[in-house]
C-alpha cells in the first residue's frame, strides 16, 4: 500500500477507527529537516515512508562549477558535525587524480582531526539520544563535553566547526606545540567522564528497557540493504574502512572495531560509546608516531587533474563515506558523486520502524545516526 506523500502537504489522516496516518517532520523531528509518514494501528507502526530532500542543496552540481580547492568549504557544509571526515575522501580522490603524494605528517594530522571529529559527532549524537529517551542529564553532559573536543579541533584547525582543514595536497595548519599536553589532559578527563556516562545512562535500567530488542536489524538484512557504520557493526558485521582498506597510516595503528550481534538500538548505542574510546586511543598513538616534516604539497590555484576517475572511501563518524570523482583533465571536476553513510542508512528506517511502537520511534530513528543534511547533500 502506498501513501500519498507527494504534493499532499502535511496531514493526519484517519483511515478508519483504529488506523491513522501521521506525518512527522519536516520541522526538525529531533535533528535535521526530514519528514516521514507513518501509518499506525493502535500503538504499532504498520508502514513508514521516508521523504527526504528538504535540505537538498545540489552540492554535487555545484562542484562542477568550482575548482578542486574551491569546493571544500561547500562540501563540508553537508556534514557540519563531521567536517574532516567528509572532506578527506574528496581530497584523497582529488589527489589520486592529480598524482600527488601527501606528506606523512599531513596524513597523521588528518587522522588526528578525523578521530577528534568522530568524538565530536558521537557526543552530539549521544546528547540527542539522551533527550529522546527522556534522560535530560545525558543531553547536557555530552553537549558540554563536546565543547572541549571542539576546543581541541580549534587549536589545530583555527575555527570551531568549519575549518576546511583537509585540502588537496595536505592540510592547512600544523599542530601547535602545546597540543599534545592539552589533548592528554582532555583524554584523561573524558575517560573518567565516559565511566560516568556508562554508570548513569548506558547501564541504567531505563536505557536498557527502552533500547534492548527495539528496532532489530538482522545481519543478513544489514548486508543486503547496504547500510554502513554503526548500524552495520551493531548487526554483527565487522566492517570498518580503516581496517578493510586502510588509508593514511591506519595500518600502523592498533585499535578495536566494536561489533555487537544484537542488531538492536542498544547495540547501536554501545558501538557509538566504544568508538569514542577507540578514537582517543588512535589520537594518542598518532601523537606518538607522528614524524616532523612538511604538512602540504604546494599546488597551483588552478591545479589540473588527469582525465580519469577515482573512487576513494574513508570511515566517517556515521560510516563509510566515499567520493566518486570523474575528471576530464580540466581544473574542475566533471562529475562528483558523494556516497554518504546517512543516505545509505535511510533504507533501514522503514525496515526498523514497521512493527515497532510509536513511543520507540525517536530512539530507533536517532540510533541510526541519520543526519538529513548529509543524506540530502
Amino acid at each position: 500500500m502506498s501513501l500519498p506523500t507527494q504534493s499532499s502537504g502535511l496531514f493526519t489522516e484517519q483511515v478508519s477507527e483504529d488506523k491513522l496516518v501521521v506525518s512527522i517532520g519536516p520541522q526538525h523531528p529531533g535533528a535535521g529537516h526530514f519528514r516521514f509518514t507513518i501509518r499506525v494501528e493502535g500503538d504499532t507502526i504498520t508502514e513508514c515512508i521516508p521523504d527526504p530532500g528538504y535540505v537538498h542543496r545540489g552540492g554535487e552540481k555545484q562542484t562542477e562549477y568550482r575548482t578542486y580547492i574551491q569546493s571544500i568549504p561547500m562540501i563540508e557544509r553537508s556534514s557540519l558535525l563531521d567536517v574532516t571526515n567528509i572532506t578527506l575522501p574528496y581530497c584523497m580522490a582529488a589527489e589520486e587524480l592529480m598524482g600527488i603524494q601527501v606528506p606523512p605528517r599531513a596524513q597523521y594530522l588528518r587522522m588526528i582531526m578525523s578521530e577528534n571529529q568522530r568524538i565530536i559527532s558521537h557526543l552530539y549524537w549521544l546528547g540527542i539520544q539522551g533527550i529522546f529517551l527522556g534522560h535530560s542529564t545525558m543531553f547536557m553532559w555530552p553537549l558540554g563535553d563536546r565543547d572541549i573536543f571542539i576546543d581541541l579541533g580549534q587549536m589545530i584547525g583555527g575555527a570551531r566547526i568549519t575549518y576546511s582543514y583537509c585540502v588537496p595536497g595536505g592540510v592547512r595548519n600544523d599542530m601547535p606545540p602545546n597540543f599534545k599536553d592539552r589533548a592528554m589532559k582532555v583524554f584523561e578527563y573524558f575517560e573518567s567522564r565516559l565511566k560516568d556516562y556508562e554508570r548513569i545512562f548506558f547501564r541504567s535500567p531505563l536505557f536498557e528497557k527502552r533500547t534492548r530488542g527495539v528496532g532489530v536489524l538482522s545481519r543478513s538484512d544489514a548486508i543486503s540493504l547496504g547500510v554502513a557504520g554503526q548500524v552495520l557493526r551493531a548487526s554483527g558485521v565487522k566492517s570498518d574502512t580503516r581496517i578493510d582498506e586502510p588509508y593514511c597510516f591506519y595500518k600502523d595503528i592498533s585499535f578495536e572495531v566494536p561489533v555487537y550481534d544484537d542488531g538492536d538500538t542498544w547495540a547501536r548505542c554501545m558501538v557509538h560509546l566504544e568508538e569514542m574510546r577507540q578514537s582517543m586511543s588512535i589520537i594518542r598513538q598518532c601523537l606518538e608516531k607522528m614524524p616532523q616534516g612538511q604538512i602540504k604539497v604546494k599546488l597551483s590555484p588552478q591545479q589540473r587533474a588527469q582525465a580519469g576517475e577515482a573512487y576513494c572511501r574513508t570511515e566517517a563518524a556515521r560510516g563509510a563515506m566515499a567520493f566518486h570523482i570523474i575528471s576530464d583533465g580540466s581544473t574542475k571536476p566533471y562529475r562528483t558523486k558523494w556516497s554518504v553513510p546517512s543516505f545509505r542508512n535511510l533504507i533501514a528506517l522503514p525496515k526498523l520502524l514497521v512493527g515497532s511502537h510509536v513511543a520507540d520511534m525517536p530512539a530507533i530513528y536517532w540510533s541510526l545516526d541519520y543526519w538529513p543534511v548529509e543524506a540530502d547533500r
Partner: protein
C-alpha cells in the same frame, strides 16, 4: 584512462578479472588498479552480469550509484559500485564498479533492485537527477528534488545553475 590489467595487481583482483572474463564479450574491462576494478556492460547484459557478480564473486551490497551525462557522446553512464562484507578479507578492500552506457535519447535501464536491494534509493536518486528510467523499480517518485520541480534533471550538463554564465 588506462585500460587493461597491470602486472603488479594483487591476486584477488586478478581472480575477479579472470572470473568475469568467462562472461566473454558481455563485460569489458575499463580499468583495474589495486582495490578498484571497473567493467563496462551492455544494457541487455546488466542484470545477468550483476547476478554473476553477486552469486559467484560474493559482492553482496551496493555502496553507490553514479549517473553521468556525456552530451558529446550523446550518452549517459550509470555506474554501480559494489562491495563485499562476507567475501573475506581480500574482497572487503575491493570496490567493483560496473557501468553501463545508454543513449541519452532512450535513457532506460533494467533495475538491479532484485539483485541488490541496497540500490533502492540510489537508483531513485539517479533517476530524478539524470533522467534515467530504471525499468521494474518499485517507486521512482521524487526523492531529493522539490515536489514542484519542473525543469530538466539537474545533473544533466544541459542544466545550468541559475546565475552562472556559460563557460564559468
Amino acid at each position: 584512462m588506462s585500460s587493461g590489467s597491470s602486472p603488479e595487481l594483487p591476486k584477488a583482483e586478478k581472480g575477479i578479472i579472470d572470473a568475469i572474463g568467462k562472461l566473454g564479450e558481455k563485460a569489458k574491462l575499463i580499468y583495474a588498479k589495486p582495490n578498484r576494478i571497473k567493467f563496462s556492460v551492455q544494457r541487455d547484459d546488466l542484470v545477468e552480469v550483476a547476478r554473476f557478480i553477486r552469486d559467484e564473486l560474493h559482492f553482496d551490497h551496493a555502496t553507490n550509484v553514479t549517473g553521468t551525462d556525456f552530451p558529446k557522446d550523446g550518452q549517459l553512464e550509470i555506474t554501480y559500485h559494489l562491495g563485499s562484507h562476507d567475501g573475506g578479507e581480500e574482497l572487503r578492500r575491493i570496490i567493483l564498479a560496473i557501468s553501463c552506457r545508454i543513449p541519452s535519447n532512450d535513457p532506460k535501464l533494467p533495475t538491479l533492485v532484485n539483485e541488490y536491494p541496497s540500490v533502492l534509493y540510489h537508483e531513485r536518486e539517479t533517476a530524478e537527477m539524470i533522467g534515467c528510467v530504471f525499468e521494474g523499480h518499485p517507486n521512482l517518485g521524487r526523492l531529493l528534488l522539490p515536489e514542484d520541480w519542473t525543469d530538466i534533471p539537474p545533473m544533466l550538463k544541459a542544466f545550468r545553475l541559475p546565475g552562472r554564465l556559460e563557460g564559468e
